[in-house]
């Protein structure tokens, strides 16, 4: 079909679309001549080109006359259809050099191929960046010599642009990856912003990147830190938004960025004064708005004007948002950390074991007490490590209850044995409460662990000390009872008290101590309010040394000494009252006895004084010389004293006759061989003893003065015997001077014949026989003799 059709020489232009028709209609005389006469090679190539859907152009001849198809015409844009038939160097003047090179190579038989060749074309009257795949190959004429160049042109601008966009995007992603990687580990807001500024500045090759906090007044702001490229100056300091001109003020206050590509040109010297003063030829100042308020700023500055791309602006915007958000998060975290720290500090100083879990049921924290108690290494109890301290037998149950409760998010309590640091397992109560955050979201558990063995031991100890107290009370040598306040119901009664009160069973539980046998002075039953324990328990009195009489069930009346008082419990309130009772009956008797003794002593003393008075009265009467009377009185007192001495040594019970006689005589006349004293052991009553002594004394002094003891060779025999159940006592003097009857019966005679006789209940007489005085006593045997 490409064969020449002689009948239709321009048939090769048929079916050539719009371009085929244009070629056919064109007058080619000035360049290629009548198409009907074109060389066959050109006709064939044109026919192929016109029919191809691929944009193609034939550049024929040295000038590269342009023949192209409909697909190419689209590519030619506004240049079509004029471009058809034009010399290629003129058809694309903006790339004439490029095409010149193509023509030269092609006409020389070479081929050229370009992939994504970037060209700037003015297809629509304005410069346009385009990318193309270009293939150039020579087309031989009928003689086989290169006569033209066939260009296959495929525009790749859209693809290349997409690829470029992708690259920018990837670059941006890498940048933000780098940024987050860098600031992730940073905690201080200044560090985070400082690093963000540095990375942004380096990425954008900016002059200065600064960040600032807005003041409360929404006007003042402080540039806390910045990054400045080498050769640029830092702009750290405090500023006012107002000073940056109305454009900056209005934009930023409204939350819009302030962007200049050429500050002076766009804002003029007045409006741009603030930026220009800092030497900023171009700037992107991004506001950070939170809750409708301008909170912070991030600014990227260039000292020279700069045409910020949309990508760059996006990047700055995103970096601003990200970094400030990060700063806020860090600040919030710091607050949280502080409150967490506060919680831990508190929890660590709590004497109770505490723990906290997260939502998953993992222990995230156990307090210091837990680790001290269990001896686990720090952190060992976390996650499920706490179970390691639980007794192996209790562990499955502990774990099950825990997991089950956590699954249902309910509070729980469980007892198990927990291993203490010393290896001992102790019973504990583990009580856990669910915790929720401010939004009501389940956050896990907070729990406490209490050693109940400790409590049990304390209770046991208390019980033990109670038992000790009870046994102490039980063994006390005085009576002890306790009663409840204020009922007066008795609780405790010790054995001593039972013994004292004579109630072997003690009172039964509910009985009161006032049911017993207290009696008043007059023998009436003691009224309840007089009972010491009643007074202490029911009336709150303290009873000190109260004595009362008490009739035991066996009828014996005893004297009791009571003390009672309410006992203050740990609550500061009296719960019981305690009573102590002593049986003071014996003491009472002893006291009475003592009183009797004292009375008796007083009586005796007075009696003795009366006797002395009497002795004196009788010694000092008559006509004897006063000195003699005094001597007689003293002698009699001596006898009296000697008799009393004997009686005192013998407890005033009785006196042996022999001792009375001997002691009385020897008090007057020292032991003398002229004396013969003899008789059986016989006792007389104290009073008789005194009378006997006084009588013997009178006889002795008389014998010394007038009788047988006044001379050598005289003798006195005192003897007594029991004859026919009667006492016979004789005083017989021999060998003395002749005795004369006394003219007057004196004290001695009276003492013997009346007093002694009356005392003994018998007879006594003195005979003044010339050969010597004889005194005889005849009386019934003294009682107890």
């Amino acid at each position: 079909m490409l064969q020449e059709n002689p009948a239709e020489p321009t048939a090769f232009l048929r079916h050539g679309g719009e371009c085929g028709a244009l070629i056919a209609a064109r007058d080619w005389s000035a360049s290629l001549g009548d198409p009907a006469r074109w060389p066959q090679a050109l006709k064939t190539a044109t026919n192929i080109l016109l029919r191809s859907p691929v944009p193609m152009a034939m550049l024929w001849g040295e000038d590269g006359i342009m023949l192209y198809n409909d697909a190419y015409s689209v590519f030619a844009g506004g240049r079509h259809p004029e471009q058809l038939g034009m010399k290629v160097r003129e058809g694309w003047p903006e790339v004439a050099d490029f095409n010149d090179h193509v023509m030269k190579v092609g006409m020389a038989g070479g081929t050229l191929q370009f992939r994504d060749q970037e060209l700037t074309l003015h297809r629509h009257g304005r410069p346009e960046q385009v990318w193309m795949n270009l293939d150039y190959s020579p087309v031989p004429d009928d003689a086989g010599e290169p006569a033209g160049v066939l260009a296959v042109v495929i525009e790749t601008t859209a693809r290349v642009a997409a690829e470029r966009q992708q690259r920018v995007r990837e670059q941006r992603l890498r940048f933000f990856d780098r940024l987050s990687e860098t600031v992730r580990v940073l905690r201080g807001p200044d560090q985070i912003m400082g690093e963000t500024a540095r990375l942004l500045g380096e990425e954008l090759r900016a002059s200065v990147v600064a960040y600032a906090d807005m003041g409360e007044d929404q006007d003042r702001f402080t540039i806390r830190g910045d990054w400045a490229s080498p050769g640029s100056k830092s702009i750290v300091g405090s500023y006012r938004l107002e000073d940056f001109g109305p454009t900056a003020f209005n934009n930023l206050r409204a939350g819009r960025p302030l962007i200049t590509r050429d500050t002076l040109a766009e804002l003029g010297p007045e409006d741009g004064k603030g930026l220009l003063a800092l030497g900023l030829g171009a700037t992107v100042c991004m506001p950070y708005v939170k809750n409708g308020r301008l909170t912070a700023l991030m600014a990227v500055h260039q000292l020279t004007p700069r045409n910020w791309s949309a990508d760059e602006l996006d990047m700055i915007n995103e970096a601003t948002d990200r970094s400030w958000a990060h700063v806020e998060r860090v600040r919030t975290e710091a607050v949280l950390r502080e409150s967490e720290q506060r919680f831990r500090n508190m929890a660590d100083n709590t004497p109770v074991m505490m723990w906290v879990t997260d939502q998953k049921g993992h222990c995230t924290y156990l307090n210091r007490r837990w680790y001290e108690y269990t001896g686990q290494a720090p952190g060992e109890g976390e996650a499920m490590g706490w179970l390691n301290a639980v007794h192996p037998e209790d562990r499955p149950a502990a774990e099950r209850v825990f997991m089950d409760s956590a699954g249902r998010q309910v509070d729980y309590q469980i007892d198990f044995r927990l291993r203490r640091a010393d290896g001992e397992y102790r019973w504990v109560i583990d009580a856990a409460a669910t915790r929720f955050d401010a939004q009501g979201r389940y956050m896990g558990y907070v729990g406490s662990v209490i050693d109940i063995d400790e409590r049990r031991e304390t209770e046991a100890l208390a019980r033990n000390s109670e038992a000790t107290l009870r046994s102490v009370i039980e063994q006390m040598p005085i009576g002890v009872a306790t009663a409840r306040v204020p009922s007066g119901e008795t609780i405790e009664f010790n054995d001593t008290l039972r013994e004292i009160l004579g109630h072997p069973q003690g009172p039964s539980g509910a009985s009161k101590v006032d049911r017993f046998g207290g009696v008043t002075e007059s023998g009436e039953p003691l009224p309840p309010e007089r009972y010491p324990l009643h007074r202490a328990a029911c009336l709150g009195e303290t009873v000190v040394n109260d004595e009362f009489r008490y009739r035991r069930p066996d009828g014996e009346v005893v004297h009791l000494l009571a003390n009672a008082a309410p006992v203050l419990g740990s609550s500061g309130k009296a719960e019981i009252a305690v009573l102590t009772i002593q049986d003071v009956t014996e003491r009472h008797r002893a006291e009475q006895h003592q009183r009797l003794l004292i009375d008796e002593l007083s009586h005796r003393a007075k009696n003795l004084l009366a006797i002395i008075q009497s002795v004196a009265q009788q010694s000092f009467k008559g006509e004897a010389a006063p000195a003699e009377m005094l001597r007689a009185f003293e002698g009699r007192l001596g006898a009296l004293a000697a008799a009393h001495g004997i009686l005192t040594r013998r407890n005033w019970e009785s006196a042996p006759i022999k001792q009375i006689v001997c002691d009385t005589i020897t008090a007057v006349k020292a032991d003398d061989e002229r004396l013969r004293i003899d008789g059986p052991t016989l006792m007389v009553s104290p009073k008789t003893g005194v009378s006997l002594a006084m009588a013997v004394h009178e006889l002795t002094t008389n014998a010394v003065k007038y009788g047988s003891l006044g001379v050598t060779g005289g003798s006195v025999t005192v003897r007594w015997e029991i004859v026919d159940g009667r006492l016979r006592l004789e005083w017989i003097e021999r060998g003395g001077p002749p005795v004369q009857q006394p003219t007057r019966r004196g004290f001695g005679s009276r003492m013997i014949e009346r007093a002694l006789a009356a005392e003994l209940g018998g007879k006594a007489r003195i005979e003044f026989n010339p050969e010597g005085v004889v005194c005889t006593v005849d009386a019934p045997l003294p009682e107890g003799a």
Partner: protein, 119 residues
């Protein structure tokens, strides 16, 4: 002259020496002494049988009380005085007021007491 002269006074005193002194005092005052009785039975006998104007009774007679004597004297309407080393508290004879003379006593005390008693 006192009312005592010629009056018959019973003397009951278990302590011989005291009895003698009292006897001497009464004799000096011109009284006639009945006794002295040293023992309770002796004293009761005299109180029953003697003609008496008054009496001085020691309360304690060898661990016994002389109340039986007092009873008899009271029955006979014969006035008497208790004499005791215990003082007034030592006398527990009926509830009637009695004169109690505390030992040791002086002669003027005896005289005054007897004068009142025999009035």
């Amino acid at each position: 002259m006192s009312r005592i002269a010629g009056k018959r006074v019973l003397l009951v005193e278990d302590e011989a020496l005291i009895a003698f002194a009292l006897e001497d005092m009464l004799l000096l005052l011109g009284a006639q002494v009945v006794g002295p009785a040293f023992r309770l039975d002796e004293a009761v006998e005299l109180a029953l049988t003697s003609e008496l104007d008054g009496a001085i009774l020691d309360v304690n007679l060898n661990e016994q009380r002389s109340y039986a004597v007092a009873d008899e004297l009271a029955r006979r309407g014969i006035p008497f005085i208790f004499a005791t080393g215990y003082g007034e508290e030592g006398v527990r004879w009926r509830d009637e007021p009695t004169t109690v003379l505390a030992k040791p006593y002086r002669q003027d005390q005896i005289e005054a007491a007897l004068n009142r008693l025999l009035a």
